[in-house]
């Protein structure tokens, strides 16, 4: 049609696109419900953020995992000190104070969290780690054979073996090595990671990405059709498929910046609040970035899906409810069984695998890190001192929020594949939607 002034078809397309997108954005802006929905979404995420801030500011109570800060015999010398000097733990008449020269009793706090983990990440399949910081292995009166419980030839160390089948590490530890880890240090880090993953997966990809499109995108075409205002737009020289697409653009122009703002806010706050020596945890930005990508794509796909349902049937929104329920189930499934085939038939499943890939790249020690929490200085899965699963604080949250890559591919391949699949889903819904919209009679 337009062949004037050297215009290509693209410039005129572009004009129509911006016109409808701007129109849609203005429509959203003038509606109170838009702001209520976005505001409530922000509020909901902020509530979780508040809990996070509170958790970061609360010292996690230190637990004496190995019990050496106790003073069983009441002689003023804690077990750890007596043990170090070889006196009898149960005899009040035997303590280092009777030595010559007498040794002053050490405060009990010296024997809490005194033997923290000193494992570093390495991607070897078998590692030898662990230093007996407090010397209660090296200096103990145990025979050498017992000091090398794991039979690796070196006394007082820990051997980690990576099991590629289960994707986790086995811990073979000599006694009294790294047996009293720092709960606060571990717990903060674990909670921090769990928060990022949990809020990213359930907060952004599930809660925001389903409910925001449910409110904002369902009516994009349907409301205009029921109120009859679609009459104006469909009387202009523009294909219905384009109207569908450009209305979506307008929707994305509202939702995507919103997600960007909320995501950045959380990234900045958690970056400053997070544990660690550095002022800002720059590395985490990678995870936040993958969360953002996942949320953007999820809102795109859900938006297309719900707009399509709105076109399909006047009561299309009722179909959205079982879909939302299915997606909730899939969200929970992908956090527990990430390799399930069902996930391939969902939207959250693919979105969450983007987040998992991001987390895998930024925190490659995740498997080891969770194992640390589970082992908990030997008190976790092995009943060494007190017997019975005393995982470190934060471990359960992290285990709940974190999941492995379910596709059996590397992180980059998983990300690329997921992005492509989500895009294809969006295009698919758009295509079907515009086909139906095109043959709809507008009464």
């Amino acid at each position: 049609m337009d062949k004037k002034r050297g215009e290509t078809i693209w410039t005129s397309l572009d004009r129509k696109a911006t016109a409808i997108a701007e129109f849609t954005m203005r429509q959203y802006r003038t509606r109170l419900s838009t702001w209520v929905v976005l505001g409530v979404g922000f509020l909901a995420i902020s509530v979780v953020l508040l809990f996070y801030i509170d958790a970061m500011n609360t010292e996690i109570e230190a637990i004496d995992n190995d019990g050496d800060s106790l003073d069983w015999d009441g002689d003023g010398y804690v077990n750890g000190q007596e043990y170090k000097y070889g006196t009898d733990l149960n005899d009040p008449a035997s303590h280092p104070g009777l030595f010559d020269p007498p040794i002053d009793p050490e405060p009990a706090s010296m024997y809490i969290n005194e033997d923290d983990y000193d494992w570093d990440y390495s991607d070897g399949s078998r590692l030898e780690v662990g230093i007996d910081d407090d010397g209660d292995c090296n200096n103990s009166s145990l025979p050498e054979s017992l000091k090398d419980d794991n039979n690796d030839g070196t006394p007082c160390n820990i051997v980690l073996e990576y099991d590629s089948l289960s994707g986790s590490y086995f811990v073979y530890a000599d006694p009294y090595v790294d047996e009293d880890p720092d709960e606060d240090r571990y717990g903060k880090e674990a909670q921090h990671r769990a928060f990022i993953l949990g809020v990213g997966k359930l907060g952004f990809v599930f809660l925001l990405s389903i409910f925001v499109p449910l409110f904002l995108a369902t009516g994009l075409i349907r409301d205009e059709m029921t109120s009859g205002t679609m009459q104006y737009m469909t009387a202009k020289p523009i294909a219905r498929g384009e109207i569908f697409l450009y209305r979506m653009l307008g929707y994305l122009a509202i939702v995507w910046p919103y997600l960007l703002v909320v995501c950045s806010l959380l990234a900045i706050v958690s970056g400053f609040m997070g544990p660690g020596d550095q002022i800002f945890r720059f590395k985490d930005l990678g995870v936040w970035f993958s969360i953002l990508i996942a949320a953007l794509l999820a809102t795109l796909v859900y938006g297309m899906l719900f707009a399509f349902l709105g076109v399909l049937w006047k009561y299309g929104i009722i179909l959205a409810l079982p879909i939302a329920a299915w997606e909730l189930g899939m969200a929970l499934l992908s956090m527990t069984v990430p390799e399930s085939t069902f996930l391939r038939m969902s939207i959250v499943g693919w979105s969450m695998s983007i987040i998992d890939s991001g987390a895998y790249l930024v925190w490659p020690d995740m498997a080891l890190f969770t194992q640390k929490g589970a082992w908990a200085g030997g008190t976790g899965d092995a009943s060494f001192f007190f017997g019975g699963g005393n995982e470190l604080p934060g471990y359960r949250a992290l285990e709940w929020a974190q999941s492995d890559l379910g596709l059996g591919l590397g992180p980059y391949a998983t990300t690329v594949l997921s992005v492509v699949v989500l895009f294809c889903q969006a295009v698919f819904f758009w295509f079907i939607g515009q086909l139906i919209f095109k043959s709809k009679e507008i009464v």
Binding site: R15, A19, T30, Q231, Y232, T234, P237, E441, V443
Partner: protein
């Protein structure tokens, strides 16, 4: 417009009627049924140029006809052609059409200027061009002083004018107005009628529907009459009336002395009946209305009759509609 198509050879390929000759609106045996209900049954017509009033009672199929033309509905039978193109699933011909739907709902949250310029941009105008065009058409319909106010605050007449403005923004060749005068107060009605008449004078094809007969009569004499989905008549109002020759035309004349006038009137050979409802009233029946009216003034003046009222009660739309639809009720 024409060269574009010709040089691409499309006209020959797709066996289109070359645009210059294609009527603006062409319907060939077009029908539309909703379930069991027939809204339009087999209508054929071709229109171009000037203002045409589409007339019919509520539910006669006027809106359905317009929606078929605008590609909002798919015809159940027949073919619709707009500038020689099928409008269903094909937005191309809308570039030359302006459509004012009957629907009262509008984008209340926009100003009229935003409304018009947004839709102007859908015609491929740039932002600045669209703004300029919006100013122009809003000025044209007389909304320039309130165009930066929200449409939600407009009265019905202003809303109708805003709708007309949005339809005019691409300077269309065909303007379709579905009940543009409904719900307007007399001031707004007069203004809108002037706008429509002016559009017709500018050589646009205007289709206009209404059920208020006197309104259409004031705008145009070119009419299409629909009744229960059927095409009853098309053409000039008076021509239609004159075609209905089996029903004699009635002329009522009021004068001082009806009998005396009757004598003189009888001398005209086209008169074939007289009636005296009262002593000062004369009813003349004729089959040749134009001829009679041409000669009547002379007779009156020459014979110094004192005529107060001449009335032609069945020359208006209402009576024509009555005659035409009478058989179908």
């Amino acid at each position: 417009m024409i060269p574009d198509l010709a040089q691409e050879g499309k006209a020959q390929q797709q066996a289109w009627v070359p645009e210059a000759q294609a009527p603006v609106v062409m319907l060939n045996n077009v029908g539309k049924t909703y379930g069991r209900y027939q809204a339009l049954g087999g209508i054929s017509l071709a229109l171009s140029g000037g203002v045409t009033g589409i007339l019919g009672l509520n539910g006669a199929g006027k809106s359905t006809l317009f929606k078929l033309l605008m590609g909002k509905l798919q015809p159940t039978q027949g073919e619709v052609r707009l500038f020689g193109t099928n409008p269903w699933k094909n937005p191309a011909p809308y570039a030359r059409v302006g459509y004012v739907p009957e629907n009262e709902n509008m984008h209340d949250w926009m100003t009229a200027h935003e409304f018009v310029s947004t839709f102007a941009r859908l015609h491929g105008l740039t932002r600045d061009e669209a703004k300029k065009e919006a100013n122009r058409v809003l000025e044209f319909v007389g909304l320039s002083d309130v165009m930066h106010k929200k449409i939600g605050r407009y009265s019905k007449g202003m809303r109708q004018r805003a709708k007309i403005a949005h339809a005019l923004v691409n300077d269309p060749d065909l303007i379709i107005l579905d009940e543009p005068l409904q719900g307007c107060d007399p001031l707004a009605r007069t203004t809108i009628m002037n706008v429509i008449r002016e559009l017709g004078r500018m050589g646009r094809t205007v289709l206009l529907s209404s059920h208020i007969l006197s309104e259409i009569e004031r705008i145009t004499e070119q009419i299409v009459i629909l009744h229960q989905g059927r095409l009853l008549a098309i053409g000039n109002l008076h021509a239609i009336r004159e075609q209905l020759d089996n029903i004699p035309h009635t002329i009522e004349i009021e004068c001082k002395d009806a009998k005396a006038l009757a004598k003189d009137v009888l001398s005209l050979d086209m008169v074939h009946g007289l009636q005296f409802p009262s002593s000062s009233k004369l009813k003349v029946f004729t089959h040749h209305l134009g001829e009679f009216h041409k000669r009547l003034p002379k007779i009156i003046v020459d014979n110094e009759h004192d005529v107060m009222v001449i009335n032609n009660p069945d020359d208006d739309l209402q009576s024509i509609l009555g005659y035409l639809t009478g058989g179908f009720r």
